[in-house]
Symmetry: C2
Amino acid sequence: MADDRRTQIARNSLLLKSFTEQQTDMLLSMSHWHSYQRNQTLFQQDEKARSIHIVVDGWVKLYRITPNGGEAIVSVFTKGQSFGEAVALRGTPYPVSAEAVTDTEVLQIPAAAVTEMVRRDPEAGVVMLAATFTHLHALVAQLEQLKAQTGAQRVAEFLLELCEREEGSCLVTLPYDKVVIAGRLGIKPESLSRAFSKLKEFGVKVSRNNAAIEDIQRLRDFSESDPAAFWNKRP
Amino acid sequence: MADDRRTQIARNSLLLKSFTEQQTDMLLSMSHWHSYQRNQTLFQQDEKARSIHIVVDGWVKLYRITPNGGEAIVSVFTKGQSFGEAVALRGTPYPVSAEAVTDTEVLQIPAAAVTEMVRRDPEAGVVMLAATFTHLHALVAQLEQLKAQTGAQRVAEFLLELCEREEGSCLVTLPYDKVVIAGRLGIKPESLSRAFSKLKEFGVKVSRNNAAIEDIQRLRDFSESDPAAFWNKRP
DNA sequence: CCGGTTACATGACAATAGTCAAGCCAAGTG
DNA sequence: CACTTGGCTTGACTATTGTCATGTAACCGG
């Protein structure tokens, strides 16, 4: 089968990579592509789940609208990442809404194709469980951050996740709007600005949507320091 | 089989209830009971998962120790609730630690029994997925709360979850220490005290470990109000 | 009943984060 | 080249939460 570029990316996604080639081919043949423009909605909270989504290009945010009208961003996905596995397999409604934060290309695997495959090869169900567990784990990590770190520390970790290297210096590109970054980190855009200012003291320079990290280890030390302790360091 | 009381409770847990009676019998025959005293540890973060845990009596907290030494409580489970399904099935390490917050009785189903069962009846895997998805959903809800509500509002929701009734007045018992409640809600014990004080204005009276809610709807209105708006009400 | 411990409450203060309003700056448009 | 627009930053102020210290009430073993 002559794969185009986007199909290649889909095949390399964490989810499809875990299936056999035959299974993947079957799923791909039943799936369809979809492009979304920035700010376009993929699906809404409480809507019945019809597909698993694999992001092939761009960024998608999952969020919830709170009783009082605010929005709380739950996670943000990009190239190679998938979401909606559990709901598609179970046929329950989406617990979140999804919206493209940049122009985005997505592969959508119909829930029917998935359930069908799991019925034929139950082992595939465990693969889905693995994916779901990954999300669970990510949420736990996020909870920990929210409960135990200040806004500025969360920003620091966010930057650290963006850079591939483990030490030395690093140059990263902020992948989407600061409003979205702030939401993802559970703070207001204004606070994000101030957090960036504060991080200057730790060797981080931000201009437009580029951030330069002078010393990764120093930034990590800051992000892991006790909120109550680190001010003593600079009078 | 002559079930004792605790076995009855286990059978009625959300997890076991979803299996066939035969499956449940098989699992029960391979499981073992364990009692823990308050503050005793069930397992530690990064330890290899050997069992699924079903709480039959008491309360268990799942928490993570952060890089700087603090603890972030992820969830708290009680009678009829289970945790560790996904890790047991996949054999990955626990992403959290578990500790009894009261004297506690737990049924532990060995991971081997679970994987064995899923291999024989793949449909059972979907049941496990359902349980995992429930946890996922709870974490999403918690994230939303942390990001979109003030401490006092989260306390209000916590009280509302404790009371069975939907309207009118209600008397609830705080099930465990306030330090743990505060941790669960992502605030310090002192802030919890102050939150309780603030809730007096909304018809909540707390003494020792009992809370009286005068009007459930009024409390709900408060918990769902816009954090920025509700102040104006009392100058 | 006493001393000691535990759990919780409160007050004073510092720090973090939100709100509202104004300003800046780069990019696009007429 | 103004002129507007959108995205971001800043400042001033307020609110919320954490910290530290201290007080108080219940409980427990002698």
